[in-house]
């Protein structure tokens, strides 16, 4: 994929377009035009600032930048920021790596099955993909998925993610209290004494050949995505 020249970042103060270093001005305009067109509807009529980093633009260049924005979106140009040292021109979170690859990381594609009811005792699903349940998985019920398992409810039965050996698969549930959890070839079971039902959403994944369970908070989930490359 073509290396990108601009990057969009939304903050409380509005939208900022960062112009990456080392890209020629005409290339920058072309990329900006293309991206604005793709996402004009998404951006709507927000105010936008352009951070050109260490570039020193002529008045004419600034004019062309504003024109490109006006012609290709309904955004309202509110200013052009120059940062001579250049380092701050990139949004902090994305300083490492290429935008495109960052966008792909943490994304998984594949067949999914959505079950909009509770799986009761004796009911089982075996699906060669991801499984999403909007309901509970009761004791005596089991889900076997070759991909990930997401349960918007309580898992009390058996869940087996990555059933064909995908050790990066995970099991996510609003309340994770399974009889048994399996991911790929790793099995773990509930402790013999009844543990209290967790009071928050959790996910299970393999680390060091064991199944670990962690609470889902946005930060933790994001970190695991980066670390595990889920």
């Amino acid at each position: 994929m073509k290396k990108m020249a601009v990057e969009f970042k939304g903050t409380k103060g509005g939208l900022t377009i960062y112009c990456l270093e080392g890209v020629g001005f005409s290339e920058l305009l072309a990329d900006l035009e293309q991206r604005l067109r793709q996402r004009a509807a998404f951006f709507g009529e927000a105010e936008v600032r352009v951070n050109v980093g260490g570039r020193e633009l002529t008045e004419e260049q600034k004019e062309r930048l504003v024109t490109v924005i006006r012609e290709n979106s309904r955004l309202k140009p509110a200013g052009i920021v120059m940062q001579p040292d250049g380092s701050a021109a990139l949004p902090p979170a994305r300083r490492r790596g290429d935008f495109e690859s960052l966008q792909l990381e943490g994304l998984k594609e594949g067949r999914s099955l959505v079950i909009k009811r509770t799986l009761r005792s004796g009911q089982g699903i075996h699906f060669p993909g991801h499984v999403v349940v909007l309901g509970d998985v009761n004791p005596g019920a089991e889900i076997i998925a070759e991909g990930d398992i997401f349960v918007f409810g309580t898992i009390r039965g058996i869940a087996h993610a990555g059933a064909r050996g995908d050790r990066k698969a995970s099991v996510v549930a609003l309340r994770l209290s399974p009889t048994q959890l399996r991911i790929a070839d790793v099995i773990s079971r509930a402790p013999d004494e009844n543990p209290p039902l967790p009071d928050q959403a959790e996910y299970a994944y393999i680390a060091d050949d064991r199944i670990l369970i962690a609470a889902i908070t946005t930060k933790a989930a994001a970190a695991s995505v980066r670390k595990e490359g889920v």
């Binding site: 799986l119 009761r120 004796g122 509970d136 009390r156």
Partner: protein, 265 residues
């Protein structure tokens, strides 16, 4: 046109037959014409619980196999004019009847009666499939034990798969003192797993055993707590909104005493 209600549980021994007998008498006492159908072919005992065993001439299998008309097989209860029993065959087994035949039978009976209560055998095999075939709705009986609740869950799934949704739950044999001590599953625990509507809670009551052995359903006994619980279910079946008894308080002698002497409660 009446309504056919199947009473089922999955697990055996949780009180299906007792519930059928009591609900039948309760409905008949409120001027409904009721027939109890024992679908537990080969292991019949609804007739025993009703105290009608000695009057059986024809049974359900005779009816579906055409050896008699359904009217001939129906036994009128000795105490309640509006209550009838269609007994199961004892010398045959579940395979003697097919779901289609049961469906036809239920349709026939619904034309004649306000309520057709079907006593379902334990298990999930042919006897179960026969019993639910003609039902318009289902009541599920469970006790506060993990095994009974597990089976009830399985049954709810099977009922839904058979197109019988909206089943309602009877929790039988609750012992408030044990629940309070944390030694018995709480009603909320059960409802959280089964996630269906509750229609009644029946406290564990030795009077049920006595009345069952005598063939006199407890629902007709005014002073029994369990009888009151069955009467409430009957009224809920008839569409009335009846608040649930506070079994925790009523059975707690100590709690009542505390209340009387003003220690709260």
């Amino acid at each position: 046109m009446g309504e056919a209600i199947v009473i089922t549980s999955g697990k055996g021994g949780v009180g299906k037959t007792t519930a059928v007998a009591n609900l039948g008498v309760g409905l008949a006492l409120l001027a409904n014409k009721v027939v109890l159908v024992d679908a537990d072919i080969g292991l019949r005992n609804l007739d025993v619980v009703m105290g009608l065993e000695n009057r059986i001439v024809y049974d359900l299998v005779d009816v579906v196999e055409g050896r008699c008309r359904s009217k001939q097989a129906l036994i009128r209860d000795k105490r309640y004019d509006l209550l009838y029993l269609l007994p199961a065959a004892q010398t045959r087994d579940k395979s003697a009847v097919s779901p289609e035949q049961m469906k036809k039978l239920c349709e026939e009976l619904k034309a004649e009666f306000d309520f057709v209560l079907v006593d379902c055998p334990a298990g999930i095999e042919q006897g179960f499939r026969n019993a639910i075939a003609g039902a318009d709705r289902a009541l599920i009986v469970t006790t506060p034990e993990v095994s009974a609740v597990r089976d009830a869950d399985r049954i709810i799934g099977l009922l839904e798969a058979a197109g019988l949704s909206g089943a309602r739950l009877i929790i039988n044999r609750i012992r408030p003192d044990m629940v309070r001590r944390g030694d018995m599953m709480d009603i909320d625990d059960i409802l959280e797993i089964l996630a269906i509507d509750l229609i009644g809670i029946i406290p564990d009551d030795e009077r049920i055993i006595v009345s069952t052995n005598r063939g006199e359903p407890v629902v007709a006994a005014d002073n029994a707590l369990s009888g009151q619980a069955f009467r409430n279910i009957v009224r809920r079946l008839l569409g009335e909104e009846v608040p649930f008894q506070d079994i925790y308080r009523q059975s707690s002698w100590f709690g009542r005493l505390k209340k009387i002497i003003g220690l709260g409660g």
